[in-house]
């Protein structure tokens, strides 16, 4: 990144600001105005997609804390999302816990489960750890499928799906979070802002710096006095806390949840988000979440346009679409890793630098 000249901090307070320049603050205000007005401009379906992106962004930030900042590869993301989602749902269904409390409790429960599966990380590294977290994925998925109290009934029939009671924002029956996309939009946006601020500031504390030290070279970190065991488990716990929060939000955003939404494919999609977005960066996680969530929707709408113009038949559309979505996902991951391994965040800053330095971009 090009070095900005002209910002001279004279107090520690100004040095510590996240947005030190006026231009950045103006941009932030514009962005907030844009976010507040968005639901009035776009359709309900588009708001629904944005909601999914924001949930995914929270989960991806969580995963990035673990993988991108602490360097512990996890293939168990889907399982931890499932733990959060089911913890939240079960608390609401069986114990009539208010949804807000259930959401927070779900995050803490997932943090605990995550820390438990993080215990092997002290001795396991790299690929061995990756497969150990795959074990977490398989075990949690198995429990969700097999354990009877987790199953619910829908319309009197017993299913693997759990029906979620209504959640009302501020007790207002008009603001039902399960399907009122606008209400959920503002709610999840506030949560996302809190998570982003928390995550950004985490890496300005000694905890965050310890995580980064472990990622860069764990033995060196230990020599410098970082307690490896404590910080690795803590990284798993903090990461899982956010992932559980995302899982709980998924529950509150749905009318029913089932295990299909927390499989190994979900783990892979989340890994793709942080890699495509940019490992070890909060903004990267958000870019990646947006990219991976929106991509299939774009392909779907392209397909639907083709069907409407009678270029392809409905039959072909239905059979081909999932494979095209999957193939595009794969091709983009491969291209991204080959062309720009540092992800969308890096591409974006390259573009910004190009225009800032134009026409003397060297």
């Amino acid at each position: 990144m090009a070095v900005q000249s002209g910002i001279y901090h004279q107090t520690y307070e100004s040095d510590m600001q996240l947005r030190p320049t006026t231009a950045q603050r103006v941009r932030l205000i514009l962005a907030i105005a844009f976010v507040l007005l968005l639901p009035f401009v776009v359709s309900q379906n588009e708001v629904r997609i944005v909601n999914k992106v924001m949930i995914a962004a929270i989960g991806a930030i969580g995963l990035n804390i673990l993988v991108g900042y602490t360097g512990q590869i996890s293939l168990g993301q889907g399982a931890f999302l499932g733990v959060g989602a089911y913890a939240c749902g079960l608390l609401m269904v069986y114990f009539q816990v208010p949804w807000g409390l259930a959401l927070i409790a779900a995050a803490f429960i997932t943090a605990f489960v995550g820390a438990l599966f993080g215990l092997p990380s002290l001795r396991l590294k790299g690929l061995y750890l990756a497969v150990a977290t795959l074990a977490a994925q398989q075990i949690v998925e198995w429990i969700i499928i097999r354990w009877d109290p987790i199953d619910g009934t829908i319309d009197g029939r017993a299913t693997d799906a759990l029906k979620i009671p209504s959640a009302f924002l501020f007790g207002n029956t008009a603001w039902r979070l399960n399907d009122n996309e606008n209400a959920f939009y503002y709610f999840v946006f506030v949560v996302l802002v809190v998570v982003v601020l928390g995550a950004v500031n985490l890496f300005r504390t000694h905890y965050g710096r310890a995580f980064i030290a472990i990622r860069d070279q764990d033995i060196a970190a230990e020599v410098m006095g970082v307690n490896l065991f404590y910080y690795k488990v803590l990284a798993f716990a903090i990461s899982s806390f956010l992932v559980g929060l995302a899982g709980g939000l998924t529950t509150i955003h749905s009318t029913a949840i089932s295990f299909e939404r927390f499989t190994i494919e979900v783990s892979i999609a989340y890994l793709a988000m942080i890699i495509v977005g940019g490992l070890g960066s909060i903004s990267g996680a958000i870019y990646g979440a947006a990219f991976i969530e929106i991509l299939p929707e774009i392909l779907r709408s392209i397909g639907q346009t083709l069907v409407q113009n009678r270029i392809v038949s409905d039959q072909v559309f239905v059979t081909v679409l999932p494979f095209v979505q999957q193939g595009t996902f794969g091709v983009l991951i491969i291209l991204m890793l080959i062309v720009e391994p540092e992800g969308i965040r890096k591409l974006w800053s390259n573009i910004k630098d190009y225009f800032r330095l134009w026409p003397f971009s060297y």
Binding site: R123, Y128, A130, A135, I139, F323, G330, L332, I334, L337
Partner: protein, 310 residues
């Protein structure tokens, strides 16, 4: 002992043996790539898928040949040639640009690759399972084992035995290749120390291409065997590939003996846990055992301990 129990034990052992041979073959493909190139191939299941479908397509084209055994032989040869090309292409186009990147990038690129391969197979052949037009292994009538007092006799399919033999021949062939042939020794040298191997005049590029094509062939044979066992090719084949991950971690990522022993160990754990305790334990029991083993031996049973320097 109850005769029914004895027959059940025999049946489970028989299943576990053939399953283990298959898993060992799949795990071998993974270990092969890991040893030579330090890549763990999450697209291994998809190599099996692609190999199986190529074999299926060749069988469909070749079924006009009078003698089924000639058709099967030609199809297998064709499949080996085609998968060799796939292996070389994948290595050249996808993995070579990522040499020197962190593990996570390499894992992710093979995951991306697996998605692409599944999509291609899906676009060409659709998602409905398709039966093989010719049996690649002749279907003999089952052996019958009867015991005094048993309610039902035990029927064992001889195909299983043939699969075991095929797997043994392939695994044995690969072992011989590593210990005796020039290229096999070059592969081991590359795995040991790439720079030293290069300075001895070994072409690393050729070795990498060779490794990927050998692994692709092993995976394709495994895919075709699964197609035979499950009565046809389908999109479920990669799921079997996923079962090989606990195998290689249990055995140790870089140990060929570990892959073989791990394959049989996991197959026995799966079969006996699901046969005696609960059928649902089949998918999860290997991972439970794996976690316990990893707590005690973090590099698997036979894996080489890595000594790190700061």
């Amino acid at each position: 002992m109850n005769p029914d129990e004895i027959l059940k034990f025999l049946r489970l052992t028989y299943t576990a043996l053939s399953d283990g041979a298959l898993l060992a073959l799949i795990a071998l493909a993974l270990v092969l790539i890991y040893k030579a190139t330090d890549v763990i191939n999450f697209a291994n299941g998809e190599f099996m898928l692609v190999g199986g479908y190529i074999g299926y397509q060749l069988l469909v084209w070749l079924q006009v040949i009078e003698s089924p055994s000639v058709a099967v032989l030609l199809a297998v040869i064709g499949m080996v040639v085609a998968t060799t090309l796939v292996g070389v292409l994948v290595e050249r186009l996808v993995l070579r640009p990522l040499i020197g990147e962190p593990i996570i990038s390499v894992i992710m690129v093979t995951i991306g690759l697996s998605n692409v391969m599944q999509a291609i197979v899906g676009l060409i052949w659709g998602k409905n399972p398709r039966p093989l037009p010719i049996d690649i292994i002749p279907r003999f009538s089952p052996f019958r084992i009867e015991l005094e007092g048993a309610r039902r006799p035990l029927n064992l399919l001889p195909d299983t035995l043939i699969i075991l033999v095929i797997a043994f021949i392939l695994v044995g062939g690969l072992l011989l290749f590593f210990s005796r042939s020039k290229h096999g020794i070059a592969m081991r040298a590359t795995a040991d120390d790439q720079q030293a191997a290069m300075s001895m005049g070994i072409s690393i590029r050729f070795i990498f291409a060779l490794t990927w094509s050998l692994a692709a062939i092993a995976a394709a044979v495994a895919g075709l065997i699964i197609a035979h066992v499950t009565n046809g090719v389908s999109g479920d084949i990669p799921g079997v590939g996923l079962r090989a991950f606990p195998v290689i971690i249990l055995g140790g990522l870089d140990s060929i003996a570990g892959a073989i022993i791990g394959g049989f160990a996991i197959a026995f754990i799966e079969t006996f846990a699901s046969g005696y305790i609960d059928p649902g334990l089949k998918t999860v029991s290997p991972y439970l055992v794996l976690l316990i083993v990893l707590m005690i031996k973090p590099y698997g049973l036979f894996g080489q301990k890595r000594i790190e320097r700061v």
